[in-house]
């Protein structure tokens, strides 16, 4: 036990002093790890935000339940409550015949003179405007509402909504694909970098073996080195990303774009954690694997 602890102190000391003594290698490795993770992080941020936007779009989707003309106030009330009671409905707002006409006029804009005179005999129906919690439920909820007594028709811009949901789905798939590719590539780059660093010291590893060091005795400092390289690269990359993202937020917010981006603090903490884990893990595995062939003496 005592010996184990002693060894561990030695491993840590050794790992760090190797980093200090091979400065050129350390700098090159750390910047490469950082570079790879900056790329990964950049696109993670983009995709998280696109996802966030898609969510915002989805949450703005609504469906319209047109009511029959000959309903009493009470019946209308009852229908509203019934709709509210459906699972997945988040809000229900009533639109009278007059409000509908007003809206339509606004939509037509300069051509609104075409609707003049319709006020007396308004042909537009009264309706409930329903928002749903999950865009994908919109079709099911529409069907359910259609079954309610007093509801004439349900419309939710089937074409547009379905197309939109399709596009969002594609964006998510593409995003996931890109992130997966970037993930693999980052691993390749980081582990290659570590490998080249180990390669540069192949003879030292041999010598240690000849003196009677066990595989693990040699491996530990390299693992620690790999972990530290990965960790340093990861933390630096998170720093760079935080800076870049901060500037982007400033820029975007100053232009008042329709969508609002995820706040810095929301994303960066998780990213720091996962990148630190990822960096040190690949670092450790990278050195562990690449040291192997040089231990066989």
């Amino acid at each position: 036990m005592d010996m184990l602890f002693r060894n561990f102190r030695y491993f840590i000391k050794e790992g760090f002093s190797n980093l200090a003594r091979n400065r050129l290698m350390t700098v090159a490795s750390v910047t490469s790890v950082m570079a790879a993770l900056v790329i990964l992080g950049m696109f993670l941020l983009i995709i998280l935000n696109v996802n966030h936007m898609a969510y915002q779009v989805e949450s703005q989707l609504e469906l319209k339940a047109f009511l029959k003309d000959d309903l009493s106030g009470e019946q209308i009330q009852r229908i509203g409550e019934e709709i509210k009671g459906i699972d997945g409905v988040s809000s229900v707002v009533f639109e009278s015949k007059e409000q509908a006409l007003e809206k339509f006029k606004k939509q037509l804009g300069e051509k609104s003179y075409l609707l003049e005179g319709l006020e007396k005999d308004n042909p537009l129906p009264q309706s409930y405007i329903v928002k749903v919690k999950d865009a994908n439920l919109i079709k099911d909820i529409a069907d359910e509402i259609k079954g309610i007594n007093g509801v004439d028709k349900v419309s939710y811009g089937q074409d547009v909504v379905e197309k939109l949901l399709g596009i969002i789905r594609i964006i998510r798939i593409v995003g996931l694909a890109i992130i997966s590719i970037l993930f693999v590539i980052s691993i390749v780059i980081i582990s290659n970098t570590i490998k080249l660093g180990v390669f540069a010291r192949r003879r030292e590893i041999n010598i240690m073996k000849y003196i009677g060091a066990t595989d693990w005795f040699i491996r530990w400092p390299f693992l620690i080195e790999g972990i530290v390289l990965g960790l340093l690269g990861a933390l630096l990359s998170v720093g760079v990303l935080a800076l870049m993202y901060g500037y982007t937020l400033d820029y975007v917010n100053s232009r008042l774009i329709v969508f609002n981006l995820l706040p810095l603090s929301d994303v960066i903490k998780d990213m720091a954690l996962y990148f630190a884990l990822l960096g040190s893990l690949i670092g450790a595995i990278g050195s562990g694997l690449s040291i192997k062939r040089f231990l066989n003496v």
Partner: protein
């Protein structure tokens, strides 16, 4: 202690470095291995350390057949021997002190023990004032003495030295050999491959002479040879 039974070693391209070697070294012996350049002396030592595998034959070290040894046991075999390599094999990124200390760290020695022992052996080989230098900042002879210091620091039961005086002047060479004789007197088996005719002739120890991979002579109180 050490026993070679019908040991042969062929390298690639049909190079026969050792052919059908048989000998036995008892515990506590002092043995010179001599022979011309390329005779197979270093190969013999590499086989002992399992740096190379024999093509055929059996090698026994400390009653164990090391040709059948598992990979995991090799480090412990190597620790049982202190070795001065012909090409020194010092770690370039470690100081003289650290190079010697490393051999102790490998066996899990206590830091206190390391701090006590390393300066001791460094002074034994006359390098106390070079403790903080890196190998590439040393003269050839100094590097060779660091290698020796590292070999003896763990007080191994077998000390193997491949040409440990090749870079040393006659005076220093003698001091080193006397040191090894001293260590031998305290019970350590010493195997020394060397070209130093004067030393071999004066020591009157057992001499195993190799030539082209064969043992041509094995004398209890031998001399280097008849040439020169």
């Amino acid at each position: 202690m050490i026993k070679f039974i019908n040991v042969s070693k062929k390298y690639d391209k049909g190079i026969i470095a050792l052919s059908n070697i048989n000998f036995e070294i008892e515990s506590g012996e002092f043995v010179f291995i001599v022979g011309p350049s390329g005779a197979g002396k270093s190969t013999l030592i590499k086989l002992l350390l399992k740096e190379e595998e024999p093509t055929s034959g059996t090698i026994i070290v400390n009653k164990k057949d090391i040709t059948k040894m598992k990979r995991k046991e090799i480090p412990y075999l190597r620790r049982s021997m202190g070795v001065v390599f012909q090409d020194f094999r010092l770690l370039p990124n470690k100081t003289v002190f650290e190079n010697v200390a490393f051999a102790m760290e490998v066996v899990g020695a206590h830091p206190k023990e390391i701090r006590r022992k390393v300066p001791m052996v460094l002074s034994l080989v006359g390098l106390s004032d070079k403790a903080d230098q890196y190998p590439q900042q040393l003269s050839g002879g100094e590097q060779q003495r660091v290698a020796l210091a590292r070999a003896i620091v763990n007080e191994p039961s077998i000390l193997i030295a491949d040409e440990p005086t090749g870079n040393l002047d006659p005076d220093t060479s003698w001091e080193i050999v006397k040191l090894m004789a001293e260590i031998n007197k305290r019970g350590t088996t010493v195997v020394m491959a060397t070209h130093a005719k004067d030393i071999v002739d004066a020591m009157k120890k057992r001499v195993i002479a190799l030539e082209k991979g064969n043992i041509v002579r094995d004398e209890a109180r031998g001399v280097y040879g008849y040439a020169l």
